[in-house]
Amino acid sequence: MTIRVHREPGVETLAWALIAPAMTVVLGLGLYPLLYSLWISVERVDLLGGAPGFAGLANYTLLLGDPLVLLAIWHTLYFTVVSISVQSVLGLGIALVLNERFLGRGILRALVFLPWAMPTVANAALWSWIYHPSFGVLSTVLYKLGLVSAPVQWLATPYLAMNMVILADTWKVTPFYAIMFLAALQGIPEELYEAAAIDGAGPFRRCLAITLPLLAPMFLVVLVVRTMEALRVFDVIYVLTGGGPGGGTTVLGWVAYLQAFQNLDFSVGAAAANLMVIGSLIIAWCYARVLRRSAFPEN
């Protein structure tokens, strides 16, 4: 039996009226720049010469034909996959611990969230001091532990620098995973665990059979949000390495910045930025297809 809801006249109008201000802000501050950026990416807007005009997809083919841009795309994917993998595992671990009852849990939950409250630039500046090649505290700690004999040059070689950038980002961002997973964990009824325990399931089996499947919808949300953010990474690289060393941390966001603000070629910069948008959309669509099926099997 379907239930028809009797709506009073004017409720719908009121609904639209109430969301109109938010819609204006979203459309004005979000949609307009996005469309403008798409527009200049198919034009030629180069402040250092080059006749202005319509360029079609020329800017995109220029980028995708440049091996350094392809390398930047690889760096971006590496950053995204590694950070999300590490952060998911850490975040889930922290959430599982914070879900247990122990003394000081409330304070610890607040403290764990503190790095998330820092601006990304402040976080990057903090880590640039931790990684300082002569006075950095990370080298000092390892030295005192006897693991190294001289200060480590964390940001001097490409591969190591990329992983150090991931570490700096992880410290700031993992609380987000922890809080989201904790919220989801708290929604799982205790009775399920008790029933499973009665049926003879050990803690590991309970985790696999109950916790992870019920966490999947939240995991999808976190994955989509964090993938978008990781693909867009810029400020931590700007402050820590400036795209170096030897171009080792140059990601697509950095390419967009260089093209626009160093080379004064705004259309190619916009094209690079839009490549990130397109990439994010494709990945989000894939996530929705794959994970929604497993998260919401009855649909």
Partner: protein, 418 residues
């Protein structure tokens, strides 16, 4: 007789023009709320001070916005391309061509030409693009060689090295004696400072980045030898390995720590290193000629720097902006400027001024260094070219790539964009 121009009609029309012009000027250019200047942080403090002095006579407040050098270029580009209301921007010598081509700056040829001959040639030539002058020179600068005299004395050396080969020997000897951890600290982070050092060393090896016809030469001869020398500095341990992550401003802190004997840096380093309030090595830091290469038979080499102030095309009061620039760059202020940061004046007469020499004896040492100065290419696409070279050179320095391959790769990329 109807159309004849008579003296009376000329006079009348002249009066009319003058009257309308005055009215128009009064109507269209009211006093601005303030003038805004965008500069880098080694210039901010004293431009602010002179700005305040100017405000006392003009009645218009001056706002000075400053940030680190490495962030200034992109901030200027983002602001001016977006139409931000800056009246004055700092123009580093290598930015002049790009800013002029992108139409960020008004030509100041008419304002500067009357006294251009009183400025040192290096300062005025670097501000010219297609025959027009785009910025008022403010400072002339170069990379200078600093050494810690106390550490050298401990090592038994009475004088600083005259060649890079000698520096290597001195460093190794002092390292063995435990007097220093490393001989020299360089500013070899992937940033503009790296390009400056490379240019300077290429000149020392009798090479060049580009010739007068625009052909590129950095990938061979002196340019290749310079990169090989830089790689050997790190490999042999003469240079502090931290050099790969430090920029021009940061190495001064490392040098001030007292565990490194030599440093190459700009003029601002002199005042910072000798400031007793913040530097542990104050009073021990001396300047000498940048070493040459015995292998190439050169005495010394350095690269020019220095900045000027330009008036933006978006400024609504260019005449007031120019007035402030003229005030700030006046030679009477040079002594004040020197107390904030030690640099080379742009006015010829100041080099022989007794008061200047008495207050700042190093000025003659710096002038001597300028006899061996080379310029970085002043091209519209300089930022992109420099970025390509920085990346490839840094690859070679960190061992990711061989010097020949790195420079060959840079050449291919540079040719593709120029």
């Amino acid at each position: 007789m109807a159309g004849m121009i008579t003296r009376r009609s000329l006079g009348a029309s002249g009066l009319a023009y003058g009257a309308t012009a005055a009215v128009a000027r009064a109507a269209t250019s009211p006093k601005p709320a303030k003038l805004v200047a965008l500069v880098s942080d080694t210039y901010g403090p004293w431009i602010s001070k002179f700005g305040r002095d100017w405000t006392e006579t003009s009645g218009i407040p001056v706002e000075v916005i400053s940030q680190a050098y490495d962030q200034t270029y992109s901030k200027i580009v983002a602001s001016l391309a977006g139409g931000s209301p800056f009246d004055i921007v700092i123009v580093d010598c290598v930015w002049t061509s790009a800013f002029a081509t992108a139409k960020f700056l008004r030509p100041l040829t008419a304002e500067i030409s009357p006294f251009a001959v009183q400025l040192i040639p290096a300062a005025i030539n670097e501000r010219k693009v297609d025959g027009q002058i785009y910025a008022m020179p403010l400072t002339s600068d170069g990379k200078f060689f600093y050494y810690n005299s106390e550490l050298l004395q401990k090592g038994g050396y009475g004088a600083p090295p005259e060649t890079w080969e000698e520096l290597g020997q001195m460093s190794r000897a002092m390292q063995q004696k435990g007097i220093v951890k490393h001989g020299i600290v360089w500013a070899w982070k992937q940033a503009e400072g790296l390009m400056c050092d490379y240019t300077l060393l290429t000149a020392g090896m009798k090479g060049s980045i580009q010739d007068a016809n625009g052909a590129w030469h950095f990938q061979e001869g002196g340019g290749l030898d310079a990169l090989k020398f830089m790689v050997s500095q790190l490999k042999e341990g003469v240079a502090d390995p931290a050099s790969l992550s430090l920029n021009d401003r940061q190495i001064v802190d490392s040098f001030d720590g007292g565990s490194v004997a030599f440093m190459l840096s700009w003029s601002f380093a002199f005042s910072i290193a000798n400031n007793p309030a913040s530097s542990p090595v104050a009073g021990k830091v001396k300047m000498a000629l940048v070493p040459g290469f015995a292998a190439a038979g050169t005495t010394s080499s350095t690269v020019t720097g220095g900045s000027g102030l330009g008036v933006t095309t978006s400024s609504k009061v260019p005449h007031l902006a120019w007035d402030l620039i003229r005030f700030v760059s006046d030679r009477r202020h040079e002594l004040d400027v020197m107390s904030f940061r030690t640099n080379m004046p742009v006015w010829k007469s100041l080099y022989n001024d007794p008061a200047m020499i008495k207050a700042f004896p190093h000025i003659q040492q710096m002038a001597k260094q300028f006899d061996y100065a080379v310029w970085r290419p002043n091209l519209p696409k300089y930022a992109q070219i420099s970025s390509i070279l920085q990346r490839e050179i840094h690859s070679a320095l960190s061992g990711e790539s061989m010097p020949e391959r790195a420079l060959a790769a840079a050449l291919t990329q540079i040719k593709a964009v120029t």
